[in-house]
Amino acid sequence: MTETIVAIGTRKGLWIARSDDRSTWSLEGPHFLMSEVASVAIDTREGRSSLLAGVKSWHWGPTVQSSTDGGRTWTESAERALAFPADTDTALERVWQLTPDPNDADVVWAGVEPHALFKSTDRGEHYELVRGLWDHPHRPSWEPGFGGGAVHTIVPEPGHPESVLVAMSAGGVYRSSDGGETWVPSNPGIRAGFMPDNEYPEYGQCVHKVARGQGDGELFAQNHNGVYRSHDNGATWDSIADGLPTDFGFTVLAHPRRAGVVWVVPVADAGERIPPDAQLQVQRSEDAGATWRQQATGLPDHSYTCVLRDAAALDSADPVGVYLGTRNGDVFASADEGESFQRIATQLPDVLVVRAAQIA
C-alpha cells in the first residue's frame, strides 16, 4: 500500500506527516528535538523508503542522519562522514541540501555551508568534497546571503549524468558538464539589482532556488528580486516575473510530469518578507511563466509569515500534491495541484524544509 509522507524539518527538530489518502493526516515527532533540520531527502530510487536529514545540534555540530524505514527510526552517519578534508582548514557549518541523483541510485549530492558541494557514491553513507567547485577561482568572491553562504540547490539532469547545476546565495548559478570536475558560472539574463554598477554580472547573483521543469532544457529560478525561466538548461535566462504580484520569494516548484507548469510562493518584498497583501498564496503558471494565477483556497489571510527556500515541495502522485511550511510552524497540503489546501500541522517551530513522496 502506498503511503504519502511529508518530512518537515524545523529549527528545533523533524516531524513526519503521513497519509494513506492525502486527506487524513497523522503527525509524528519530533525527531532530533532541539536540533535544526535544514535539509531532508526522501530517496525512493529502486523502491527504497529511505530518508536522509542534515541535522545540526547547536552544541555538538552538524551530522547526516539516515532512515531506511520511512523516517520512523534514524541512525547517525559514520563519524565525520561529511567533513572537509584537513588541507582545506575549513569546518562544516550546516548541510543545506541533500539531493539523490536521478542517474545513479548510489549517488547523493550534498550542498553545504560554507559554499561547497559534496558527493556520496554509497547512498549517503560517506561524502567526498567536489574539488572542482571548491577550487574554483571565483569562490573567494562568493558572498553569504542573509541565511549564510551555502550551496543550497543541486539540480542534476536526468539522462545526462555528466550535467549538474548548483545555485548559491550569493554566488549565482554554476554548471558542470563533466560530472563536477569543472564549473562555469551560468547567469546570463539574471539581474542582480543590488549591485551598484553592473546589474548583470557574470556571477554573484542571489539565486534562491532552481527547479527543473519537464520541457526540453527547462529550468525555473526564483531569485532575490526576479523570477526566471531557461530553455537551454541554464545557459541563458529570461524573466517571467510579469503577472506576478511580486518578483521576490524564496522557492520555486516544477511539475514532475507536465512541461511549463510551475509554482512560486511570492513574498511581498525583500524589506518586508510577508505574503503579498498578507494573503498566503502560491502562484501557478501552466505556460512556463507567461501567465500566472493565484491559488490560495485554504491558505490564511492576515498572514505575516514566510515560506523559506526549501520549505515547499511536491509529491509525485496524480494529481500532484503541493506542500508549504511556514516560519510560524504551519504546514499546508494540497492534493489537487494547489487548487485547495488544508493545514496538516501547526504550532511547530519555524519550518526550514519540507519534502514529500509516495513510499511503499
Partner: protein
Amino acid sequence: MPSAPVRVILPGMLRDLVGGVSEIEVESPADSQTVAQLLDRAFAEHRVLDGKVRDERGQIRRHVKVFVNGEDATRGDGVGTPVPAGARVHIINAVSGG
C-alpha cells in the same frame, strides 16, 4: 612514580552516546600534554565523542566549553592549553541559544 591520571568529565548530553559513561580517565604522560592531546587520548575508544566536541579542524565547537581545573580553556589557548597531571577536565555544553 607514575603521574596522577587526568579525569575527563562528560556532560549528560554526551553520556548517552557512550553507554552512560560519565567520566574517562586518561593516563598522564611523562611530559605535559595539551587539551588537544588529552582529547585524542580520551576519545580514542569513544570516537563518536570527537566529532561532537571538536570540528574537523580539531577546534572545540563554538558552543562547547572545556574547563581545566576550573579554568575555561576556550578563553585561553584553546586546544593548546596545557593540562597538568591529575587535572579535572570538564566538557560542558555552553549555556547558549534561545
